[in-house]
């Protein structure tokens, strides 16, 4: 069984087969009809010729018959011409008159034959076809026969029959092809709602699970499929909603008690204990925040048309993180281009990724060093530090969830870089880790440049 990829190609192929069969059948039917028509014309002509020969039969007073053909008819039946012949045969089968040289009958006569007969015979290798007409002349019954040698047929009729395909028959093919083209156009039109539905279906993403395919325009044959897809989307939507609601509920249930704890600690009288507890709460809050970030990212996708200014995003991150860095004795510098760099992506998500990289860099950078942000025209954002760098064998591991070099390190969750990784994936971007020549790590995020005019 041949498998066709599209309905249109299936229709075209089947239609071409149908067209081929139809054009053969139609030609056969037409030529059969044409043949019948020429035979009828021939038979009518022969009957008429027999009748006109019979017209010249005269009964003599002695009871015998005489045939007095006028000269033009004599000419028609003359031997050299040989195309037409006649014969008059009596009841006993005796030939009374004949244009044939041996005075023979054209067709043998059976007594009691019908008044008009169309017969065919072979005569010295040629096909002779004609009519035998019964007549009563002078009280005698005779058969007047007229025939034509088929080898010498009327040239005009021959031409029509022979050139039928060349002159007339070919018209069926273009007619059928026009029909084929028309049918393709009709089918394309009929399938348009399906194409439109496909375009709508392309917009569906975890961020846009509210999209449903339009059912009203869809042909009834395909409607069950479209309805089934819509129902599947409903269930999917429900799944995403549950996930989002869980994230929101979890956020509330975790963050409110943390707020209480934090505020309670901050209003403690003993500032020494308060400070220690505060650090614990701080790292706990970070873990909770990052877990919730991850949960949110699971159900998040980026609108492909969304764009963001990578330079602006970096500037915002640098601005927001600078106080923290200064507090810990590290400096922040934003280098590279200072004009907007448009890339495909979600600004808030990019901010989170770059912020995570920056927090990581600040944590690993030695005091009194600079953590640098570099924005490049191409859409690449780099975060550089002067820390210990990352060993080649760890460059894959660092992006795994909960991976930490030192499991006892305070305030480290091992989630930050996996969040970065996930955001990079969502953006269709890439991340590279290198060590700097003079020491330190360099993380490069390569975002996809966006159209400036969009």
């Amino acid at each position: 069984m041949i498998r066709f990829k599209s309905i249109i190609s299936r229709i075209v192929i089947l239609h071409v087969i149908a067209v081929a069969i139809t054009s053969i059948l139609m030609s056969l039917a037409l030529s059969w009809l044409l043949n019948r028509a020429t035979i009828n014309i021939h038979n009518d002509a022969m009957e008429e010729q027999a009748a006109s020969v019979a017209h010249h039969l005269v009964a003599r007073p002695d009871g015998s018959l005489a045939l007095e053909l006028p000269p033009d008819l004599q000419g028609l039946y003359s031997q050299p011409y040989g195309r037409y012949s006649y014969a008059v045969v009596d009841e006993r089968g005796k030939t009374l008159f004949s244009s044939l040289k041996d005075n023979a009958p054209i067709f043998s006569v059976e007594p009691g034959a019908a008044a008009v007969q169309f017969l065919e015979t072979h005569h010295s290798g040629a096909v002779i076809s004609g009519a035998s007409v019964r007549r009563a002349v002078g009280g005698k019954t005779v058969w007047v026969q007229a025939a034509e040698d088929m080898a010498n047929r009327d040239v005009l009729i021959d031409d029509i029959v022979d050139d039928f395909y060349k002159n007339v028959g070919w018209i069926t093919l273009p007619i059928l092809l026009v029909l084929l083209v028309t049918d393709i156009a009709i089918f394309r039109r009929a399938l348009r709602p399906l194409r439109q539905a496909s375009e709508i279906a392309q917009q569906i993403s975890p961020a846009r699970t509210d999209v449903r395919l339009p059912v009203s325009e869809i042909p009834s044959e395909v409607r069950p499929l479209v309805s089934a897809i819509n129902q599947a989307l409903d269930r999917l939507d429900q799944g995403f909603r549950v996930q989002r609601e869980f994230t929101a509920d979890a956020a509330h249930e975790l963050r409110t008690p943390l707020s209480i704890l934090r505020t309670r600690v901050e209003t403690l009288d003993d500032q020494r204990i308060a400070k220690a507890l505060h650090l614990d709460i701080e790292s706990m809050s970070r873990v909770v925040g990052q877990l919730l970030d991850i949960a949110e990212l699971e159900a998040f996708t980026i609108d492909p048309t969304e764009r963001a200014d990578a330079q602006g995003v970096c500037a915002e991150v640098a601005e927001s993180i600078a106080p923290l860095a200064l507090e810990q004795g590290r400096e922040i510098a934003l280098l590279g281009v200072s004009t907007p760099v448009w890339v495909k992506g979600n600004a808030e998500m990019m901010k989170r990724a770059i912020r995570n990289l920056a927090e990581n860099a600040i944590k690993h950078a030695p005091p009194e060093t600079v953590v640098e942000f570099v924005v490049e025209e191409s859409g690449t954002v780099k975060v550089l530090d002067r820390g210990p760098g990352i060993a080649p064998e760890e460059r894959e591991l660092i992006f795994q969830r909960f991976w930490r070099r030192d499991r006892n390190q305070q305030g480290s969750t091992g989630l930050g870089l996996s969040i970065v990784q996930r955001i990079v994936e969502l953006h269709g971007a890439s991340i590279a880790v290198e060590n700097r020549v003079l020491g330190g790590a360099q993380f490069s995020l390569h975002f996809v440049a966006a159209d400036k005019t969009a």
Partner: protein, 228 residues
């Protein structure tokens, strides 16, 4: 100065009242959207601290109603919802600021003060960092209570930095603040003013430091004693 705290968690609102009390604010505590609506119709507060997840409705609805009435009371939204869309929705609904739980009480107070110090709001007086004071009414800087003589542009830079205490002020913001929209600014003009200001402050013994964040802007902070 009286604040309205709308928070359904009794423990948290008690603690907020305590913390804000220490910072010098009186608070009314309400736990439902209905009560908050009533209170906001009858009482004028200096600012509102609003939790979004209330048992009888969304805090954002209260916020929208308030803004619909053209009520300019600063509203600081507190929420557990740190999600991207939530943040945008909150600010679009007319929130002046947005704090995601868990937040530091210190930050809440700082942001509250930033709102209350905006033009037309109630907190006037002065700003302090270490031994440096800036009086907002007569735009006078003092170190250890000694009034200082600064040029008008240096004063403007100092005021902007001190109003944004703990946050970075972008170079662009400084330019806009000092030169407004008027004409071209020499590319290093701001750096010159900041440099002069920095020198004057350290000469006069101010225990503050103006940090330059390359490519970003400036930040004023208490001088860090050398790391131990």
């Amino acid at each position: 100065m009286r604040l309205l705290v709308v928070e359904d968690n009794a423990q948290l609102s008690q603690l907020l009242a305590k913390g804000l009390g220490i910072a010098g604010y009186e608070t009314d505590l309400l736990a439902t959207a209905a009560e908050a609506r009533g209170a906001l119709l009858t009482t004028s507060y200096a600012a509102v601290i609003l939790d979004l997840g209330l048992p009888d409705g969304d805090g954002l609805a209260i916020l929208r109603e308030l803004r619909h009435r053209k009520d300019p009371t600063p509203v600081l939204v507190l929420t557990a919802r740190g999600g991207l869309q939530d943040r945008v929705n909150g600010l679009r609904s007319g929130a002046d600021d947005y704090l995601v739980k868990p937040f530091a009480l210190e930050e809440l107070v700082a942001r509250l003060e930033a709102q209350l110090r905006r033009p037309g709001q109630q907190l006037g007086s002065s700003l302090h960092i270490a031994n440096l004071e800036f009086d907002l009414r007569n735009r006078q800087a003092s170190i250890d209570d000694q009034p200082q003589v600064l040029s008008s542009r240096e004063t403007a830079v100092l005021e902007l930095l001190m109003r944004s205490k703990g946050r970075v002020v972008s170079k662009k913001q400084v330019e806009d603040h000092i030169f407004g929209l008027a004409g071209d600014v020499a590319s290093n003009a701001i750096e010159v003013y900041v440099h002069r200001l920095r020198k004057q402050l350290s000469d006069k013994g101010a225990k503050v430091q103006i940090h330059t964040i390359r490519g970003v802007g400036y930040l004023i902070a208490e001088e860090k004693r050398d790391p131990v």
